[in-house]
């Protein structure tokens, strides 16, 4: 069995598929198909493009028109709706306007007026979702799948590999992992959770032989103004970034579920987030802004 690694760029992050096969031709074929699937999802759900159905949906906001969604998009909307409930309204795929407002390249805290104006254009509770038809009633409303599509893509890529004869491998989309199967000799894959402020420093190592691992964190996109930390994760109920962990990692039966749990935990903030993770019962690791760790995953001793 040989280890074959295929690195590529997608979903705005570095990706890698590692496959253990006897024959390179089998690995290459599966990796190409998996990569194509990730690219398809990236194109279909990316809010950085202005030519896909999503852009058309956002362009229809406030026009009174409803857009009909296909099965996959409808399932994602249903999933997002479930997360909205789980997170007491903080997980909101319509919060795109707020996220853009707090775009951290500007390095400035937006004014309250700008925050109010953006908040007026968000709110999943305002959206009319009657599967398969979705209507955005307010002009300027946007749907942003960024919170779920990367993890979903990892699981889909893993499934495509399995369908193409791969039994041992792992998909890594910018740190979100989906296991295809444990190593050929039965041993687990070793995933490193990086220290929030020092990505070169592996903080904790987790053994994964199935399922997925997802990490939500602000350690790559953080703004410090007047000594105060602002993450890029915005609470749509008050329009401001959450005061939360620096990163949350969760292990689950799929990367999608792991990602949903870690995102919701981040959005719920320090206290409620920890309580949510404890109640879920999945292995989790949360690191706060001062580097303190909490959770059921063991951190490597220093």
């Amino acid at each position: 069995m040989d280890l074959h690694r295929y690195a590529f760029s997608s979903m705005g992050c570095p990706c890698e598929i590692q496959l253990e096969t006897e024959f390179e031709s089998v690995a290459r074929d599966a990796a190409a198909k998996a990569q194509a699937e990730v690219a398809r999802l990236d194109e279909k759900y990316s809010h950085y493009r202005d030519d896909n159905w999503l852009a058309r949906l956002c362009a229809s906001a406030g026009s009174g028109r409803a857009i009909e969604l296909d099965e996959e998009a409808a399932n994602l909307i249903d999933f997002a709706a479930a997360l909205h409930v789980q997170s007491a309204g903080r997980f909101d795929i319509t919060a795109g306007a707020l996220t853009r407002l707090w775009d951290l390249q500007s390095g400035r805290v937006p004014t309250q007026a700008r925050i109010d104006e953006a908040t007026a254009r968000t709110g999943w509770h305002r959206v009319e979702w009657q599967r398969p038809r979705l209507r955005l009633p307010i002009a300027g409303m946007r749907i942003d799948f960024g919170g779920v599509v990367k993890e979903y893509a990892a699981d889909r890529a893993a499934e495509i590999c399995r369908q193409n004869g791969i039994r041992h491998g792992i998909v890594d989309l910018g740190g979100d992992l989906a296991v295809i199967g444990a190593h050929a000799d039965g041993s687990a894959w070793l995933a490193g959770i990086k220290a929030p402020r020092n990505p070169a420093n592996v903080y904790a190592s987790i053994e994964l032989d199935r399922g997925g691992l997802a990490t939500s964190g602000d350690y790559e996109r953080v703004m410090i103004v007047d000594g105060k930390r602002y993450s890029h994760i915005v609470d749509p109920t008050n329009g401001r970034p959450v005061d939360s962990f620096a990163s949350v990692s969760v292990l689950a039966a799929s990367c999608l579920v792991a990602g949903a749990a870690s995102t919701v935990a981040m959005l719920l903030g320090l206290e409620q987030g920890a309580a949510y993770l404890r109640e879920l019962g999945l292995p989790w690791l949360a690191v706060d802004a001062d580097g303190r760790t909490r959770g059921t995953i063991e951190v490597a001793a220093k």
């Binding site: 069995m1 040989d2 253990e20 190593h183 000799d185 687990a188 894959w189």
Partner: protein, 76 residues
């Protein structure tokens, strides 16, 4: 003669075991990628080995390998 042979073989096995036990630090699970390669199996092409061993068995006085022996044949 046979007890002597068995004694010699057992000593050889014991020495081998001692040697292997003195081997350097254990190989971790994530270091076993090379050992799991097809060409590192004891018998990568078992179909071919079966045919090959059958041919040797039928023209040599004593051949074979370790493992459950199959039925014989009237090869001559």
């Amino acid at each position: 003669m046979r007890p002597d042979l068995l004694l010699r073989l057992t000593c050889a096995l014991a020495c081998g075991a001692a040697l292997a036990a003195c081997a350097t630090k254990p190989v971790q699970p994530w270091e076993r990628a090379h050992l799991a390669r097809w060409d590192m199996r004891w018998d990568p092409d078992s179909a071919q080995t079966a045919m090959k061993q059958h041919a040797y068995f039928s023209k040599e006085g004593s051949s074979g390998t370790i493992g459950a022996a199959g039925g014989g044949c009237g090869c001559n």
